[in-house]
């Protein structure tokens, strides 16, 4: 019976169920892929743990596989954000249904359980679909190439208990998230009351960003001090510090966007002369968190992309410095200079960029759902405004202001914070190898100093990521403007 209640809904409920199932399927695929990578058996070859049956070194080298698995798990973050956005889709219709359940005698807890069951069931179906795609994918992509090697680890299956935990765990997680999202909602027989945060955001997010950047900036001098004093580096502690710093700047950037949205709203309200600006300003002030919530995954993707572009340009500079050093070394020794093959590392960075692009696309999905929801949930109000003569263009411009203001500010903040974090951790200066190089005789030795270079700022890559993120927001905005047209049809006055 609970199942029947959970799935009894309107068209928007069906869309929400489908979207939730889709995000659960994506999350299942990402986690199963990570588990598969971790389950690859290795053989010892020349002192290295390798799996020679794979073509891609990122999978073949055991040392690199943890990073691949971590990237795959990180991909579930935008997927989970997408799931969160889906859970909000069609909320007014679901709220009315839940209120009807309360009217029919269901207690507040029972109504919440019904909503959570809906999310869990949809996610369960999605997780099963994800498992199905995974198992079919193994068969379809399982044949080796002409070199006899596999492109993907399709010959490995994680233990069955791990598969079961993923397929059962994702629906449970989805149910718990749904209950968490309903924590500010009071379900009564007469309707649904949302407890909203009325206090404007404070600039504390800035402290989080500064704290994260400060922690990162301390690590480099601390490392130098420990090495100089002959002590060993506490790698675990340093790893934890980097993680905390990254988390602090990410949370700071996302919540900081809420504060920026509020401040921008206030400024816009002060100086706006036309209705579109006024409407957008008041909406930004009334709920500045909407912007940061909907943009969270996109901002996180931009932030990590900025870090990745900083790491990449630093590595390229390092390779260039090393190449220069070895060229001088070859000149000195008279041996031929053989340039180092860096294609593997560049390939690895290409894969990171690919993963970030996938994260951007998934984040775009979440953003589209959020934008659609913001229009659909207020379609009666919008239709009434159009009926009283407010041109749709004014509502469109208000939506554009309201969407682009936090987006532009947040994306720029994420890019700047990301690159600053990377620079704080590694610094801008790179040094090549150095050592004593001898010529024809052992008496003809000199110390070849290291080549010191400064890694430039990755302005091109940064501009590319910022541009792609803004293009994504702009495209989705245009799509949502089409939805605005149908949502302001006069029929909404009768049916909404």
């Amino acid at each position: 019976m609970l199942l029947r209640f959970a799935l009894a809904g309107s068209r928007t409920d069906t869309i929400r169920v489908v979207l939730t199932g889709l995000s659960a399927a994506l999350a299942t695929l990402a986690v199963l892929a990570a588990l598969t990578v971790l389950a690859i058996p290795t053989v010892l070859d020349g002192g290295r743990n390798v799996s020679p049956q794979y073509r891609n070194p990122l999978i073949a080298e055991a040392g690199l596989r943890v990073g691949v698995a971590a990237t795959l798990v990180l991909l579930t973050i935008p997927v989970l954000v997408l799931a969160g956005q889906c859970a909000r889709f069609g909320a007014p219709a679901r709220d009315r249904r839940l209120a009807a359940f309360r009217m029919a005698g269901a207690g507040p807890r029972q109504a919440v359980v019904i909503a959570a069951t809906e999310a869990a069931l949809a996610s369960g179906l999605g997780a099963l679909a994800g498992l199905g795609i995974y198992l079919v994918g193994r068969q379809v992509l399982g044949s080796p190439g002409p070199d006899g090697k596999l492109a993907l680890p399709t010959d490995v299956l994680p233990p069955v208990w791990q598969l079961a935990v993923v397929v059962a765990g994702i629906p449970v997680l989805a149910g718990l998230i749904a209950m968490l999202l309903l924590r500010r909602v009071v379900l009564t027989p007469y309707g649904v009351v949302r407890r909203v945060r009325t206090r404007p955001p404070r600039p504390w997010a800035g402290l989080l960003i500064l704290g994260g950047l400060g922690t990162a900036a301390l690590l480099a001098p601390l490392t130098r001090y420990l090495l100089r004093s002959g002590r060993s580096l506490p790698y675990d502690l340093f790893g934890l510090a980097v993680l905390v710093a990254a988390l602090a700047v990410t949370v700071g950037t996302i919540t900081g966007t809420g504060w920026i949205a509020h401040v921008t709203g206030r400024l816009l309200h002060r100086f706006a002369r036309r209705p579109a600006g006024l409407l957008a300003a008041r909406r930004l002030m009334a709920d500045p968190w909407t912007g940061s919530r909907t943009l969270a995954a996109l901002l996180a993707a931009v932030l990590f992309a900025a870090i990745a572009s900083g790491v990449r340009i630093r590595m390229s500079t390092e390779f260039a410095a090393d190449a220069e050093y070895w060229r001088r070394d070859a000149e000195r020794t008279g041996e031929p200079y053989i340039p180092q093959d860096t294609t593997f590392y560049e390939g690895a960075h290409d894969l990171v960029y690919l993963a970030l692009t996938v994260a951007l696309v998934i984040a775009a999905g979440g953003l589209l759902v959020a934008l659609a929801e913001s229009i659909v949930s207020r379609r009666r109000e919008l239709a009434a405004l159009v009926a009283t003569g407010v041109p749709r263009a004014v509502l469109g411009r208000a939506l554009a202001w309201q969407t682009l203001t936090p987006a532009v500010a947040g994306i720029v903040l994420a890019a700047v914070t990301g690159i600053t974090l990377q620079r704080s951790l590694y610094g801008g200066e790179v040094r090549s190898n150095w050592g004593t190089v001898c010529g024809a005789s052992t008496t003809d030795c000199v110390v070849l100093p290291p080549i010191v270079r400064t890694a430039p700022l990755p302005l091109g890559d940064l501009a590319g990521f910022v541009g792609v993120a803004l293009a994504v927001v702009l495209t989705l905005l245009l799509v949502s403007l089409l939805l605005l047209r149908t949502s302001t049809a006069v029929e909404e006055l009768r049916t909404a």
Binding site: A272, L279, G389, V390, R494
Partner: protein, 229 residues
Amino acid sequence: MSFLGTRAAVKSYGPTPALRGVTVDVAEGEILAVTGPSGCGKSTLLHCLAGIMPVDAGEVFYRGRRIDTTSEEERARLRRTEFGVLFQFGQLVAELTAAENVALPLLLAGARRRDARTAALAWLDRLGVADLADQRPGTMSGGQQQRCALARALVTEPRVLFADEPTGALDTLAGEQVLGQLVRLAREQRTTVVLVTHDARVAGYADREVTLRDGVVDPTGLGIAAVRR
């Protein structure tokens, strides 16, 4: 040709007919109540008269000009400048204050923000809710919200006010107050009012009543207010 009206107006929602050849005339300065049971086509008639919705067949005219053949932009301009529209609920922008909601039509018409606010405050004062000027709709009662909505509908001093069940969501006392103010202000400004209601008490405020049944005008002329009298 009268000030405002329809000739043989037909409107359907898919296979369901809402208006089946309705002819209505409204004189300038008149307060007309459109009454009838639920689903008889009252709101549809109001939407067609206000140019919110086009008719499928027939004519809609205003001041000697057909408005059913004009573009959506032109009809929207008409609603912004010549007409005021008042619904049952859900028409105020939740994030704007009462004064900003009332000022909105003036801003759309190109007024300066300060001037629009001054006019909005004056209208809120006339409707007895000046103290709510800086409050948002969510913190007001239904009656207070409806008075703000009435102020917004009248702030451009429209020639015609369309009111669709304006007191339908209010208790008796609040409903009487809103309606009393609506009628008083309309008479003061000689505003023509088309009032859709199924409530005999509300219809009793009108100069004349037109009753619809199953999408056509009741030929007996016996409206609910007339029966009540």
